[in-house]
């Protein structure tokens, strides 16, 4: 078999969870579908709004719809055979295990820092062995060299980790997508690790 075929056979049996379907999650998901990841489990409580279209993987005719449903539709246009399970809900301590417990890797793609904090603390407590790929610090433009990856055990944090709150630094497609691709790239790396390709 070729390397590409080996990659397809490894990724095809993997499940990746994505917590949040905004600028990070909605861009991580298509990269993973295109890479051939077998199953995605995506959770988000929000609906598509016009202000999302500058950086999130949605279209104008999807405004008002739950993000997870619109995203599922878009991902199935890429690969109609992809398995995309979606949950239109807020992730809490009560459902996080049910939603993400079966995943090989989980992507943290929340918006707010306090959501990121409880999620990494909860995951580290309940699923310390499960790789968690997070993002922190994605606002602005340029400054690519400040984007980095910090690893702490099974937690990977992508971004510049620089506070911008109160400074009116907008979220723009290039930098948000860059960090989303860093996350997707780490996920693929983790999933292919230990495989003979």
């Amino acid at each position: 078999m070729t390397v590409s075929q080996n990659i397809a056979s490894v990724l095809g049996i993997k499940t990746v969870g994505i917590a949040g379907a905004g600028g990070l999650g909605s861009n991580v998901a298509p990269a993973l579908v295109r890479s051939g990841v077998g199953k995605l489990i995506i959770a988000d409580y929000d609906t598509v709004s016009e202000s999302n279209l500058n950086r999130q993987f949605y279209f104008a005719n999807q405004i008002g719809r739950p993000k997870v449903e619109a995203l599922r539709e878009n991902l199935l246009r890429i690969n109609p055979r992809a398995a995309i399970a979606v949950h239109h809900c807020r992730i809490t301590e009560d459902n996080a295990g049910l939603v993400f417990g079966s995943c090989d890797v989980v992507v943290e793609a929340f918006d707010k820092a306090d959501e990121k904090k409880w999620f990494v603390e909860w995951m580290s407590l309940h699923y310390p062995e499960k790789p968690l790929v997070m993002a922190s610090g994605i606002a602005g433009w340029g400054n690519m060299e400040t984007l980095r990856i910090q690893r702490s055990d099974n937690v990977y944090i992508c971004g510049d980790q620089t506070e911008t709150e109160g400074k009116n630094v907008p979220l723009l497609a290039p930098r948000v997508t860059l960090v989303a691709m860093m996350q997707a790239n780490i996920v693929v790396d983790i999933l292919l690790k230990d495989s003979t390709l």
């Binding site: 949040g20 905004g22 600028g23 990070l24 999650g25 793609a109 929340f110 918006d111 707010k112 820092a113 306090d114 990121k116 904090k117 990494v120 603390e121 580290s124 407590l125 310390p128 997070m134 993002a135 922190s136 610090g137 994605i138 606002a139 910090q150 690893r151 702490s152 055990d153 937690v155 944090i157 971004g159 980790q161 620089t162 506070e163 911008t164 709150e165 979220l171 948000v176």
Partner: protein, 67 residues
């Protein structure tokens, strides 16, 4: 003492030091932190009373909104 702070070797004049003292000495002015000492999450209330010793591994992650 010499510890591993965010995967880098770092030496401090005093030993042991509390997590709060290390945050102060490093001049971290972060609002939302996740702190792991030897792989274990330490909650914010415990920063002043959790001591870091020579050879420990300390990870301080800064979480910023945006996603």
């Amino acid at each position: 003492m010499t510890i591993t702070l965010n995967n880098r070797t770092e030496t401090f004049q005093t030993s042991p030091m509390s997590i709060a003292q290390i945050i102060e000495e490093k001049n971290y002015r972060f609002r939302m932190l996740v702190v792991k000492l030897n792989g274990r999450i330490i909650s914010g209330d415990d920063y002043p009373r959790t001591m870091v010793h020579n050879g420990d591994r300390l990870d301080i992650i800064h979480l910023v909104s945006g996603g």
